[in-house]
Amino acid sequence: MKKNKKNEVSNLKLNRRKLIIGASSIGAISLAPKNLLSQEANSENLPPNLPEWTQYLGDGVDVNPYGMPSEFEGHVIRRNVEWLTASAESSVNFTPLQDLEGFVTPNGLCFERHHGGVAVINPQDFRLMINGLVDREMIFTLDDLKRFPQTNKFYFLECAANGGMEWKGSQLNGCQYTFGMVHNVQYTGVKLSDLLLETGLKDKAKWVLAEGSDSSGMTRSIPIEKILDDCIIAWAMNGEALRPEQGYPARLVVPGWEGNMWVKWIRRLEFGDKPYLTREETSKYTDLLTSGKARMFTWVMDAKSVITSPSPEKPILSKGVHQLRGLAWSGRGKIKRVDVSIDGGKNWKTAQLHSPVLSKSLTRFTLPFEWNGEELLLQSRAIDETNYVQPTIGELQKIRGVNSIYHNNSIATWLVSKNGKVDNVRLG
């Protein structure tokens, strides 16, 4: 059956496999998200008038036992793309990077990726089993875990499919939708190298199967070297218990490696002499090349950066001076430098990095610029401490084709139009 272009567009919303097409002339115009402009000011609250909050009492300390953001920040929320997946329980939403400052992601805004919905676990019922090639097969309660020596570390967690929709062309018109499968929090937990002192390890133990207790029974194989290097069983994020959607009461932390391996609601670690080749590391999270062969066990998240403002959700509202803001990260260590271009990559300026610049953590950068109503093509380019330079999409496509889905760490381009609106565009 032949389809006209209009049908093709509606099919895009139904079929993930067919959704990226090189259709620059489809002609349907989407307006920028409606949350962009701040509420209009009420002149009765402006000088020389007295606003009512200056005269009358506000809420007391008994009103909000657990504080929430201001009602005026209601647009700062995780968002999902409904047509991406068959069911919300096996799906993803995105962190609103464009609305955040600094390098820490607030707990309630950390993107979610579940394969069987959010497990609800009474911490009294939590057990972590360690079995297989260990000297002693053991079971730990949450209280046991908290009595081990403690570690507190900031790490980014990025889904390997972050930006996966953008391989063939610019598809989603938002910083949130194209870069928002990343978050950065401080984890509190026990290093696995400490925990394993208790079970002992047999010489033949080379791989770990990490298994979740949710209804997807999430499983991934992790090499023993990584487990002993810096992996953590974490029970807290940003100073409070893990959020349910982030694996409460405990999850695995695999610094710098793809988010799927950070098994939430962790229940078991099995040690073996070979990888387990689970569904998630064979049929998913393998990177298909044009040859029809696929790369397997591509764990590290390569260096990446994004300009969070201006961005499609953050148009430029006035001429004059502005602060360009962005985030950069690398799974191989610290960010060394971030360059910014306003002319599509012809000329670059080095941005300011804001401390702390931590290994395998989001790093904030800013660069002041002046806008006088001209068209801009904004790009950012991260360089990490291994001297790896964030590539262009063309460089990635040349080696990997366009069907890899995962590990798209290419430079994005935001077009700033003369009216200040910002669009996700592809150059070529």
């Binding site: 567009v9 968002r79 097969e137 064979t282 298909l288 790369r295 591509t298 360089i383 790896y388």
Partner: protein, 212 residues
Amino acid sequence: MSGLGRCILSFSLIIFLASTTIASDRKFNLGQIASKEEVAGWDIDVRPDGLDTPIGSGTALFGEEIYAEQCAACHGDFGEGADRWPPLVGGEGSLASHDPEKTTTSYWPYASTMYDYIYRAMPYGAAQSLSYDETYGIVAYLLYMGDIIAEDFVLSDKNIGDIEMPNRDGFLLPDPRPDIINTQGNPCMSDCQVSTKIIGKARDIDVTPEDE
């Protein structure tokens, strides 16, 4: 000292000795030793070499019935998928094409992984409710639809590790990244030769959700 006192003292001594003995190879003396029964209840994974495969069996003929009851509503009567639920079979020969179709029979390298995943996570919303035999049967039905086994082949713990999947050798190791080694940390900073022609806009694709 009273008899009771001596009893408590010697009891404490035993505890003390026992704990120092354990502490000599358990550094923190935290956690409990897992019993065989406890491990058996949770250790459900199956490895590609067949290690830890539960004892059981099933044919495609048997599996077709279970599939129709438990799987077809989402994945279609013949594994062709329904709505946005994924197809499970088909797509053979498509992996190098513009539109690769990755299914169990076109892409998955190991039949044992199908067993492992179906048992642990399916049916969607009723995980770990299938029997071992039912799981073998469903895997056999999918393999049969993919022309990998015959309809009366008895798939079991004895032979699931030997099933040769078409894409067994379709995976590349080790990870060759960093595969983009462009400028060794010193990229072009000015007058760089790059195309700045806009060849596509997300706005024109028009699939971005909008706030209500």
